[in-house]
Symmetry: C2
Subunit: 380 residues, 2 copies
């Protein structure tokens, strides 16, 4: 096990009806920027419950945060914060809305000339942020209980992340009943997103960290158990609740303590979203087993353990097959062809971006331009 620092101050309010509990968590004199997305919160009851919880506080609504939240949109929100002298950011929605809220909270306090620096430096320049509270309506990204945010800039086809202790939500409301009306596509995306968050922190070289391994396997086994149940019966409230909690624990950074981490699948995937507009989870399903196959020998011990404990199979190869079958079974294609994308073209385009930026990723730092090309060529 490697040394680590772990701190996660976010208060989780979990369960049906917990939106009202946030009334006591937002300072009574707060002036709130209320951020949301395309308006689903007007159909699932979250809008009314949030407005009630805000009570008499002054608030300004800022809707229209996009999936893969857009930098320019966030800057408009920062302008509103400053103009209206707001001092608290409340996000109601999925990971994109939460990520936008975190960026807005950091950018509102950023004193440099160009807030893009927050993303270019992956958060190094962040010295403070407005407090952020969240009401999560889409289990997937784990953004409700970590200091991460991913922002896109369509003008330059960039998708960058930043991390800062200053943007951990002060509280996050997880009411699984708010997810009952989610379209199947978003549930499926959430299952795959949470699944790959775990594997990025677990399917690496062996690290002598048996507890972290077993906790990762606990989250994977839970997603495999309750994910399909969530899709098969949208009214199964127990399955929704466990799915929601599993997605949070997949990336509240606990299972990654003291172990090497990969994240190459995410980094290659971000490029596919930037280039082709694929959903984030779709890119993960496409890339994951490609990275595993490319690093089969280095990852073999972990893949065999994963196969044995999570899928009851004996070989690394069977573990890959089981993973692809799981994605298939929940209706998530894992090959580029299924999305009408030429693997040869995608491989060249992504390799070009990697070379241009000098990027290398993965727990061994060897997923470079050539590796990214090989990974994508294998996913035709």
């Amino acid at each position: 096990m490697e040394p680590f620092v772990y701190r996660n101050p976010t208060e989780i309010l979990f369960g049906p009806g917990t939106i009202r509990e946030m009334a006591s968590r937002i300072p009574p004199d707060a002036a709130v920027l209320w951020v949301y997305g395309g308006g689903s919160i007007r159909r699932n009851g979250v809008y009314e419950q949030t407005r009630d919880a805000l009570g008499g506080r002054r608030f300004v609504e800022f809707g229209g945060i996009e999936p893969n939240p857009e930098y320019e949109t966030c800057l408009r929100a920062v302008h509103v914060v400053r103009r209206e002298r707001l001092d608290f950011v409340l996000a109601t929605g999925g990971g994109s809305v939460l990520d936008a809220a975190k960026f807005i909270a950091a950018a509102a306090r950023y004193e440099g000339p160009d807030p893009w620096e927050i993303l270019r430096t992956h958060g190094e320049v962040v010295r403070s942020a407005l407090p952020v509270g969240t009401v999560l309506t889409l289990p997937a990204t784990g953004s409700e209980a970590n200091g991460n945010s991913v922002i896109s800039r369509r003008a330059t086809r960039e998708k960058l992340h930043f991390t800062s202790d200053h943007v951990f939500p002060t509280f996050s409301v997880l009411d699984p009943d708010t997810t009952l009306t989610l379209p199947a596509r978003l549930v499926r995306n959430g299952i795959v997103d949470a699944f790959v968050h775990v594997t990025e922190q677990y399917v690496t070289r062996p690290a002598g960290a048996p507890l972290q391994d077993r906790m990762a396997e606990a989250v994977l086994a839970t997603l495999i158990e309750v994910g399909p149940r969530t899709l098969a019966d949208p009214a199964d409230r127990d399955a929704r609740a466990s799915f929601m909690w599993a997605a949070t624990l997949a990336l509240n950074t606990l299972i990654g303590c003291g172990v090497p981490q990969d994240w190459a699948t995410h980094m290659i995937g971000h490029e596919l979203t930037a280039l082709y507009g694929l959903d984030h989870a779709e890119t993960l399903a496409v890339v994951l087993t490609g990275v595993w196959r490319h690093k089969l020998e280095a990852k073999r011990a972990k893949l065999e353990q994963y196969g044995r404990r999570v899928w009851q199979v004996l070989s690394a190869e069977d573990a890959l097959r089981k993973t692809e079958m799981f994605f298939d079974a929940i209706g998530m294609p894992s090959r580029l062809g299924a999305y009408g994308i030429s693997a040869a073209e995608a491989a060249e385009a992504v390799a070009h971006r990697f070379r241009e930026q000098g990027w290398t990723f993965g727990e061994d730092g060897d997923i470079d331009a050539d590796a990214a090309r090989a990974v994508l060529l294998s996913r035709a």
Copy 2:
């Protein structure tokens, strides 16, 4: 799954050499009460490293905290805090020292006439506390990452706990190398203590919380794997590190989110310590399977799952047997006779205390005086 609130703000500094990191976590102008136990920190290097980390800060040492920390001793420490106008409590040691530090921190800020109220109300009267930092040297109680504390009052043979959000440590240093010189008896105690912390939150009635179940099983399986390794080879630093982290996650309150909890084993055990001076972990080893046998039908589904997933056995009865064999294998007797205690006498004495106090414990609230008597009679 039941609704829950989860918040754990403690910063964990994990790894060899991390004691020095706390220098940046204690306010530079803090005046520190430095609490420790019988002096083991002078033999394992913790004393010098802590003194170095304190740098030029004003501090007052308060040694001599007992195992099962004594109320009167804590009150003397509170007197020192007030007399010397100290504003930070630093604990270096095992769970007893940490628990004492939490009580001292709460009592120093308590304005009522009788600080025993903190324990009598189990923390309800706690409105604030001095900040507490800890350097853990004995993995066992989980006190390094929760808001719990257990204090004893020998004069009245009472052992009571309190819980408060105000006494979560602001930071806890977990340097597994500080545990390399622990006597085998304390390691054994720690393994059993952590093990039973998990089962109290897991072996209950079924709760529709598959992720919490699997995380509990992850901690148990890890303790079963690395516990005996830690005892067999005191120099196995990997095993020490995983044992230390497992003991923390056993009771940082995460695995207990949204599930029923038992704690009857602890409550009966506390009485055995108060009456006979047994080590806390010894009482747990004695009582645990007695409670399980007494509640065999109500707990059968969970015991079968535990047996199947953790021990690869099929029946609840075999799960009990495997548990007792595990305690035996690490050298921890699980019957009262082995400690020279008459089961008949202990059963009557504990039942008397339960009746006198009107206590009922367990996830179904049915472990009363008669149940406690039956549990202890079965552990002759």
